[in-house]
Amino acid sequence: MSRLRLYQIAVVAGFILLLEVLCLAGVIDKITMPAPHIIVRDFVRMILAGRYFDEIGKSLVNVLAAFASAYLIGVMVGTILHGHRTTREILDPLFATYYAIPVFAFYPLFIVMFGLGDGPQVLIGFMLAVVAVIVTTLNGLDRVPPVLKKTARVNGLNALQTARHVTLPFCAPYLLTAAKLALAYAFIGVIGSEFIMARSGMGYEISYAYTNFDNATMYPLILLILLLSIAANSLLSRWEKMLLARRGQA
Amino acid sequence: MPAAQVTAQVSAQLPAQVTLRGVTKVFPAVAGGKPVHALGPIDIEIRKGEFFAVVGPSGCGKSTLLELIAGLTAPTEGEIEFEGRAIGDNVPDGIGVVFQEDACFPWLNVLENVEFGLRLKTIGADEKARQAAAVIDMMGLREFAGSYPAQLSGGMRQRVCIARTIVAQPRLILLDEPFGALDQQTRLLMGDEVLRLWRQTGATVFLITHALDEAAMLADRILVMSARPGKTIDLVETSWPRERDSRIVERENFGALTSRLWKTLREESMKTMGRAG
């Protein structure tokens, strides 16, 4: 195992150990946070008992919906914009400033417009994710070296064939980056909205547990979300690195 | 040419400023590889005030040699001395280095970049400004004193780096392929500049280059290195007069000189090409 891995494992293990010590010593009291080993125990119990599986599933379905719509629409819009320079230039300031805007501020508005169902959460997740996808797609398309497109023309490929055999394969790493970002933002948008004001889903269960001083439920759920988002992010990152490494760009 | 002979005799009597004895450099193995025996064993003597050039095939350890003399890295075996004192892993006082890459600080303008060369000197700010301005004039950069590196061409940026190095009045100036990134014409003109500076400052100049004509034109003595691990295969005395410039290429013995260098180097370079990739 490389020095790097050891270092990382040491940092995580050290942190957990520190928490454990502080909890057992009473520096962190039980009301604020139970000791890590208790959280893990409650977590295992929760998984084995199959509790909250419905809520978890529901949240994940919403996250997937936000992700899929943001990704598909984002890639399409990005591709279309790439060919229309003026429109793209007009929208550019919007893209540059977009992530400074508190998108969650629109949540109350969406609740008023669409009611308290799943719509507002998915919409927030979509809104957060879609611009990242558009910008990354544009980035990737920008970077296709003109010489590759010229090679395609010289070889008699039409627009569609060029897209399929040259542009798309070239942009694969960027499309993967776009997916990674879209998933992360969809996750943040959906779970965050559920937390603020919703009637079901993982975020809601956490806020409910908080209001009811139910640490035995709250912490395992938080742990679950952390594990899920880190796992998804790591998998996609690893895939992304593999693609880039093959091209000597890692 | 009697005058040249006299010059050669005089230069042979100059004291040694830098000596390398039995110096080798081995780089430790990087993950999954073997240790790299980059240089040596090699013995060199560089005389005070001379213009000394080193040529050799790529990868032969020329840059490593420069870094050893500069004190940027320590030898694995052997001793290096600068003005009688051993150099280990620290940069001795009185040495200046110009690198091949652009080393201008992008956030400072030309004047501030050159003043930075006086950073460690305990003189007043006014005196620093005056000395920097003088060197900027010497390098022909006066109108650009307020410009930023990003606004200058590659050749001009190298001139700024040279100015920054000589403003501290080093006794030994090391140049690591400083004109490698420039086009041929600019290189020839810069060669003239370096000769002029050499005469004006009276410093010793140690130049590494892959261009044989450049070495032949500029140097008093030329060291030819073998392929890796670099060792000495030839040491040529050019016997040029001190007052020389790029027009020296017109002389008969210039052609003979470059031919001799290439004959020695050709075989070594082929060894490197076979090894590369």
Binding site: Y99, F187 | I95, F116
Partner: protein, 248 residues
């Protein structure tokens, strides 16, 4: 570059006009039950800004935000520099920081609330954890990717480590660090407002959520509009500075 700047200005104007048109059309379609027109919203905002209550909430948000920002920037710079200067730590911690970046931090909010109690400290802490990561990441990268030639130059000039950091590493890293601070600024703002939307009793975020329970569409639209405009405007200014620093 006069024509280029004129083009950007014109494009921004067209964009803003377009957004307002889109807003007006949405209003015409959806109606008063859920939206207000741009004109109505601005009017209401004007009236709102004349009330004391509004300024109370705004002040609370700004106070929390300012403190959170200072904490995020200072800690972020320290962490970024420390990790950037020590090779192994930087390489090992960078992917971990990136992973932390992608988790929905709002799920950590209950922990913060339990630790700090309901009040301004929780908001500050929550805002700060949003901003600290980008500042640290950008600073870390800026220091790590300092061109080696600049460091070599410093060594040749025999600069001490302190002088090296102060006069070479830091100035070389400033453009990237500023980008990190710009991103950190926006995220801290978002974090602070987000924190106010849950379990707070003051602040613009709280105002927004209370407007739902009152079903006060005017209030919802005005506060949302204000937040969007403020965040966008400040970010644009920071962007201009950012671009200038990168091209200087």
């Amino acid at each position: 570059m006069q024509p280029r700047e004129n083009a950007t200005f014109r494009n921004t104007v067209i964009l803003i006009a377009g957004l307002f048109v889109f807003w007006e059309l949405a209003y015409l379609v959806v109606g008063d039950v859920a939206l207000r027109s741009p004109w109505q919203t601005t009017q209401f905002l004007g009236k709102l800004m004349q009330t004391d209550l509004f300024w109370l909430h705004l002040a609370d948000s700004l106070k929390a935000f300012a403190v959170a920002l200072v904490i995020a920037v200072v800690l972020g710079l320290l962490i970024g520099f420390a990790l950037g200067l020590h090779r192994l730590s930087g390489e090992a911690m960078e992917p971990m920081l990136v992973a932390l970046y992608s988790i929905p931090k709002i799920t950590l909010y209950p922990i913060i609330l339990l630790a700090f109690g309901i009040g301004i400290s929780a908001k500050i802490a929550f805002g700060a954890i949003h901003g600290i990561i980008p500042v640290a990441l950008f600073t870390l990268n800026a220091v790590r990717t300092t061109r080696p030639i600049l460091i070599k130059t410093g060594r040749v000039m025999k600069l001490s480590p302190v002088v090296m950091v102060r006069e070479i590493l830091f100035p070389a890293a400033v453009p990237e660090i500023f980008t990190g601070i710009r991103v950190g600024f926006s995220l801290t703002l978002i974090g602070t407002v987000l924190g106010e939307m849950f379990a707070a009793q003051r602040g613009l975020g709280y105002l927004l959520m209370s407007a739902i329970s009152l079903y006060n569409v005017d209030l919802i639209m005005s506060v949302t509009f204000l937040l969007v405009v403020l965040a966008a405007a400040v970010n644009m200014v920071l962007l201009v500075i950012d671009r200038r620093l990168h091209h200087g």
